[in-house]
Amino acid sequence: MTETLERTLPERELERVTIRFAGDSGDGMQLTGSQFTRTAAVFGNDISTLPDFPAEIRAPAGSLPGVSGFQLSFSSTDIHTPGDAPDVLVAMNPAALKSNLVDLPPGGALIVNEDAFTPQNLTKVGYTANPLTDGSLKAWNVIAVPISTMNARSAEGLELTNKQVDLTKNFFALGLMFWLYERDLEPTLAWIDEKFGKRPVIAEGNARALKAGYNYGETTEVFHERFIVPPAKLAPGRYRNLTGNEAAAMGFVAAAQLAKRTLFYGSYPITPASDILHQLAGYKNFGVVTFQAEDEIAAIGAAIGASYGGSLGMTGTSGPGIALKSEALGLAIMVELPLVVIDVQRAGPSTGMPTKNEQADLLQVMFGRNSDSPVAIVAPATPGECFYMAIEAWRIALKYMTPVVYLSDAFVATGAEPWPVPRIADLPDISVSNRTEREGFFPYLRDPDTLARPWAVPGTPGLEHRIGGLEKADVTGNVSYDPDNHHLMQTLRRDKIAGIADDIPPLEVHGPSEGDLLILGWGSTYGAIRSAVERLQAAGKSVAHAHLRHLNPFPANTGDVVRAYKRVLIPEVNLGQLLMLIRSRYLVDAVGFNRVRGKPFRIAEIEAEAERLLAERNGTR
């Protein structure tokens, strides 16, 4: 189809659009979604994404467990979430339709690959009749496109197998969406070139699929209008699009440079943390050493060994891996070495739902070890913030000679947003010195301000000493079973972590500094809470938002903040973990809003819960 028909369609300007691509996990939905995201980001929209995929790499084709989805929201205004519900659902087969339709509001656009609605595929997911023809989709704006057929036609003449051609049909769908939202094909064509450059036939097949989809929109009359989402008014500067895990990996490389030390990353593959290992393994020219260990315990053990030797020893995992690392983390607490432990949380308990989101490891990293064994905990709120919290984790670990847990989650780690690229010169110096002075050296003689012990690394003449997991005598660090010494050391370890509160930014409040309701959150709930609060404020409600990035210790003003409102609402993707900490620590009657469905919060549900609380307050219960 080379001839382009000139059609003049009405164009409608929209502030924000949310699209969900859904298909088989082998259909390339993650790729399709991320290509649309890149194009929207480069165009200047604000974006937010939510990849949603099964743990099975290739569940049986056409089955419900095999459905993979990618939701993205792009906007001409500042947005914080990938959208509560899609405006457009692209469903590549009946399974994708069946498992995603529930989220598409009535009136929403439903673009389906009608070729995939074969009797066999319909039966496989329990449809007794074809929903495209039985009238059951009347509530939606259904656009049935013979994607497979049209796509196969575009590949005619290329030396590709039927299977290879079928693998390009996601680009047909992508091309169609690019046409609908008036997007440039160039970034994706360039990507295809780069990705498949060595296999020109494959590259050509994908490029043709993309263009065919675009031209299909242009030449057929299934669409009656096109949509424009103008660029967002982001702050001036240079931007790039990145996920939380990518930001974290770069943040850790930056931390090593700012600390003037080698980064050593010991890790064992686990979803959704593996991407950090992959990313860091590619940074060898930065001097980054990555070590894929035999298990989670060896990964943290090697990291502790590296820190003992003066490197930035770091390990990364998800909740089940944290459970395995607990004993070694206790060792790092006892020997007071700097260490960063990344926990990219996922839904649990046990193996749980490995690719799904949850923030339920807070109490595990806070308390999940024998005895009183405090560690510092930081948690990024957005993908871009992962970069800065990576540096912050290392700043604290080095300055206080302590393990720090960097608590991220599947949503913040795999979600993407535009990120203003920082200048290195603006980043903090987090370097600390090794102890070299022999005079007055004792392994556990602490800095009076930070309570940190000296970092005396092997190879330093005259400072030979022994450390270990047995209780240490204050100052000398020799093994001690003295009762009073143990009490002293326990309180010192506690006070060292507690003292960090004076060295972190105060808890900031968005909105009135006192009033009817404070919504307090942590981690990846940031976007949904902030959006809900903005809506409530716009409706004239006395509501504020505060978001904790430091979970241990809390910022020094946290008690004052939570006590300044009549009600405190804590939404969490767990059954009330921050809630428990806040209530016990500050004796405020905070209430939780807890939903654990493996998915992030929707804005509307937080808004509704806040309104319910405000109404209770006004006696309209």
């Binding site: 020219n285 035999e294 060896a298 590296a306």
Partner: protein, 356 residues
């Protein structure tokens, strides 16, 4: 053998002075003795291992600040406290992991791992396997007393079948594992065995282990006089040891016996004990030890008293690139291929756009 072997005629005062002058210090055993009181049970085989370890330390040419002892949990785990080097008493079974991270990031250090049969082969079996197969340049010295001593007498993975212990009042029903065969299966590049009471042999074995580059595993047969006394006396006692143990030397025939008249030969692929001078057997029939031969190594790792003499000495010694060397090589390659990493460029990379 005497207790003075390996000592050098230089007083500690002189050594300290030399060190102060930043001359190349000549170290003696005393330089490696820490100020901590040794707390093993009197009569424990660990005393001898500690003494031989301290004794061989000056031989390797490392300044003592560049030597690190890392241990796990068990009686053996206390050893680092008694060495006046850097030391790290870690957690049960995990010493090889900490040693791996340290050596991978600090190739300049000489790293020793001190462990026991429970620590290395039970709770830490996985880590031993992987440290060995990666050829991490660490020296693992495993004290094998065939019992859990620190927890007061439970069966260990090397306890003989049917052993009655506190945890196995009716006798163990677990087959014991051969530490050397495990190390061999894991492809350790140096494997040896010695005995706590054979101080001269132990010293020589530790010297060779220290000189090896790569994953090194030394099993030391060690007596626990409290919970497993006489564990090895049947073949290690002075009166019988020459007849019941086979002292290996590379390139030498496997001859043993008080009268040096017995030897090991292969009959097909099966080892057998023969007497030189009987049935026309001459020294030429005796198997010559080759520490680079995997089949010989496996045979030596699995034969045991009473069917065979117990082999001691270096069973395997091969050379291959170490983990730390390969890490360094990959870092260099990456820099050569892509230039030294520029952080600002990295941040600015990918698709970026500018908002005016």
């Amino acid at each position: 053998m005497t207790e003075t072997n390996g000592d050098v005629a230089l007083s500690p005062e002189n050594a300290a002075t030399l060190e102060g002058l930043k001359a190349l210090p000549v170290l003696t055993r005393k330089d490696f003795v820490s100020d901590q009181e040794v707390r093993w049970c009197p009569g424990c085989g660990d005393y001898s291992i500690l003494a031989q370890t301290q004794k061989v330390m000056p031989d390797f040419g490392y300044p003592k600040e560049n030597i690190v002892f890392i241990s796990g949990i068990g009686c053996s785990g206390r050893l680092p406290y008694y060495m006046n080097t850097y030391g790290f008493h870690t957690i049960h079974g995990r010493a090889p992991t900490i040693a791996t991270g340290l050596k991978a990031s600090r190739p300049d250090l000489m790293v020793w791992v001190i462990t026991g049969d429970g620590d290395a082969l039970s709770i830490g079996g996985n880590h031993l396997l992987h440290a060995m197969r990666r050829n991490v340049d660490i020296r693992v010295v495993m004290f094998n007393n065939r019992i859990y001593g620190l927890t007061k007498g439970q069966a260990s993975p090397t306890s003989e079948f049917g052993k009655v212990t506190k945890s196995s009042p009716y006798g163990t029903i677990d087959y014991p594992v051969s530490p050397l065969a495990v190390a061999l299966a894991a492809e350790a590049s140096f494997i040896a065995r010695s005995v706590d009471t054979h101080t001269e042999h132990l010293q020589r074995t530790l010297e060779r282990a220290g000189a090896h580059k790569g994953s090194t595993f030394v099993e030391v047969l060690q007596n626990c006089n409290i919970f497993n006394d006489g564990a090895y006396k049947e073949f290690t006692d002075r009166e019988v040891r020459d007849d019941r143990m086979l002292v290996l030397e590379a390139g030498e025939p496997m001859i043993f016996g008080k009268d040096r008249d017995r030897g090991l030969r292969l009959n097909g692929h099966k080892p057998e004990v023969v007497t030189i001078g009987e049935n026309g057997i001459t020294e030429a029939d005796i198997l010559v030890h080759d520490p680079t031969d995997p089949l010989i190594a496996y045979m030596l790792a699995t034969i045991y008293w009473p069917e065979f003499p117990v082999p001691v000495g270096v069973i395997r010694d091969i050379s291959r690139p170490t983990l730390d060397a390969m890490i360094a090589a990959q870092l260099e390659q990456a820099v050569a291929a892509r230039g030294k990493g520029d952080l600002q460029k990295l941040l600015d990379s990918g698709e970026t756009w500018t908002v005016e």
